[in-house]
Symmetry: C2
Subunit: 430 residues, 2 copies
């Protein structure tokens, strides 16, 4: 494992220096190979599906495990769109003249070696490895056991096709055992970032067991706050979509906060919308005084149901809604429904969350919907990258200072030269 | 302590929403108060100096502890320049139309609550707290015991002046004991980032004892690589400045790598330059065959001397220099001296370091010299911020999506609406 990680580090150095055309050629080769070896992929996936059916894997997980011909075509379309995106590596983010012929550039660079631990969907393997390739990062991947055969075939195809297209050996590695994961978490000398994708408990476990920075989120406790002057019909549509459009995902709403001035008019019809969709309601006392609701406990405000359950609280003010969100939320996605632009701005300025939405559903919180191309995950970290993370989140920068012999001694003391610090629009060149 | 951190979190929410003029007024008030209460500051610093002299504090530390009238004036000048900088909070970093009347903005926001643990220089307290104020972050500060009186007076002046100018209570807190530091490191629910400034061992200790992200660097093992076609006179000047201009700091060079084609011509005069300045030389076998040098051990390549000692290695190629740096370096600052632009680019593209310099001294690696205004530290992290960290490194962003009732159900299924994902140049507005 140490050997694999060291090799990945060496590969990362070379991949960081790979030019755009070479990376795009490798991506195209991967897409061609996935199409060409479709039958092998389908057979491997069939074996995974049969074994998992025998082992009585739950139906939703079986569904996520399936990687059929349309999914392969979709993955190849994803690769085509990735080829179309600009190369994020090597962009000049800032340029400053420090003095005559002493020019400072901040240039985007890959992070290095990224460890990704993901759930059963084999499409994630293709998506994540191609994002890493385009952004010049080496990647260590560990998929779910259920998808073992499919992942092995996919990783093998991607490695072969990209190597033949000139990418460095060892840039992609598939890990298969729990012991591999434990070893990976200990390798802070070789791995620069861990991205875990899975359950709350799983992500927390990873965070607690490594010194390597972890990008991602554990909880997704998202709120919809319905302000005193929201349009009631809009509020109901947004609340229902945020809660029920897909309950099992992190950007689904778990709590509705309703301004006291709106509660009597809104709660009864909203209640109808929700019960018609089988949603169980847990409310604060003021909610229960208006509609039939099980009493919500302190624990409810902290719970990510991921199910047809919602907690509802009546609040006296926008600030009270903000306080509730900052106290119980997870900094993932929070929504305000209001017709008052100034109040929307106040909400956005005070809610400490990655994604803050006005008059639209929490379910829009997603890398594809945001137009990021794809996402490696959604981050509730406040360091580096926040919210849906696409190509840009896989980059850091490097400061490049180009002179013609300058030394600091010449800039020291009372007679020393001084710096011009003039911002330049020019791009990095040498 | 828990109470202080909670209060800081609340203050951070309000400070994040403070407008530019209010923050600049508070900064101006702080500068005025520092001038007005100069005598109190000088008396407190005198007490610290006297106690530390009695306790036989080392001379360089005593020098760093001194905070006299010129230092106060310099701190006030620093504040004036900070007032002149643009407010980094609220800048639109990207804008995308997802669909008609559904606009996505990425807007810069403060990180939140920042814990800073710093060494004896009281000027650091003023600089760091003002950087935090301008960037909208609350701060918990722990200074060195030697500067206890000075720090208490300074923190008190800054708190009073900024509170009277309308900044939220509790945005700045001074901690005084080791127990406070331990408590701080455990408070990952309230503190978003730790910035430790101090010795290698100290920074490592902090990194090993907290789940909170740590920004900074432990080692500063910086290299100067002298390429085969470097200008010899320039190479000597840069090597000497990088090593000797100030030996005790992280951006001083510790190792010179010399291309084999250059070694015989360069090493003898370079040796003269270095011995004239009292530098001890530890060299590889090939170095020792050309000049008198103690043999360098494997340990030497990994050592940050912070002293008048340098290790020298003769390498056969640019790639060998890169491999040495990627193996032994700390990703802080590495320099190439060469007349060949293509080789300089190859070096920059392959060296995995925060600051990579061509034909100038490693000592330029500094927030002030880079024109960042000031710095909270230098980061060798590859997540979030790298190299000298100024205002921008104290920021994260928030995604703001503004619609007029859009729900995800309308974008789902075969007949769903599709996204336009049109990049916009407009700034965030509501």
């Amino acid at each position: 494992m140490e050997h694999i990680a060291q090799k990945a580090k060496t590969a990362a150095i070379n991949l960081a220096a790979a030019d755009t055309a070479a990376k795009n050629r490798a991506l195209a080769a991967i897409a061609r190979a996935l199409e060409a070896e479709k039958d092998t992929i389908l057979a491997a996936n069939q074996a995974d599906l049969e074994r998992s059916t025998r082992e009585a894997l739950a139906a939703p997980l079986l569904k996520r495990l399936r990687f059929d011909a349309p999914k392969i075509a979709e993955a190849c379309e994803g690769i085509a769109s990735l080829i179309g995106l600009a190369d994020p590596v090597g962009a000049t983010q800032a340029a400053t003249e420090l003095d005559d012929h002493l020019l400072l550039y901040r240039v985007s660079r890959p992070i290095g070696v990224i460890g990704v631990i993901f759930e059963s969907r084999p499409d994630a393997l293709v998506q994540i490895s191609c994002l890493c390739l385009k952004s010049g990062n080496a990647v260590l991947l560990k998929g779910g056991r259920e998808a073992g055969e499919t992942n092995r075939v996919l990783a093998d195809i991607i490695m072969r096709a990209s190597r033949e297209a000139g990418m460095p050996d060892g840039w992609l590695n598939l890990m298969e055992t729990r012991a591999d994961v434990a070893a990976m978490l200990a390798m802070d000398a070789h791995i620069d970032l861990i991205i875990p994708r899975g359950s709350n408990e799983f992500v927390r476990y990873i965070m607690d067991h490594t010194r390597i920075p972890v990008l991602g989120h554990a909880d997704g406790i998202c709120h919809v706050y319905i302000d005193r002057d929201a349009d009631p019909a809009m509020a109901r549509r947004i609340a229902v979509d945020s809660k029920t459009q897909y309950v099992a995902v992190c950007n689904a709403a778990e709590t509705f906060l309703v301004h006291a001035g709106m509660a009597e008019a809104l709660l009864p019809p909203l209640m109808e919308d929700l019960t018609a969709r089988g949603v169980e309601i847990r409310g604060c006392e003021r909610t229960a005084a208006i509609v039939a609701a099980k009493p919500a406990t302190e624990e409810d405000w902290r719970t990510e149901y991921l199910d047809l359950v919602v907690s509802i609280r009546v609040v006296d003010s926008l600030d009270a809604a903000v306080d509730h969100i900052n106290r119980y939320g997870s900094g993932h996605t929070d929504v305000i429904v209001t017709a008052d632009r100034a109040r929307a701005l106040r909400f956005m300025d005070h809610v400490d969350t990655a994604d803050v939405f006005v008059n639209c559903s929490s379910r829009f919180s997603d890398g594809f919907r945001f137009g990021l191309g794809a996402e490696v995950g959604i981050s509730t970290n406040k360091i580096h990258a926040r919210g849906p993370v696409g190509l840009e989140g896989l980059l850091i920068y490097q400061w490049r200072l180009v002179g013609d012999g300058q030394i600091v001694a010449d800039y020291s003391g009372p007679d020393g030269r001084s710096f011009s610090h003039r911002r330049l629009d020019k791009h990095f060149e040498i």
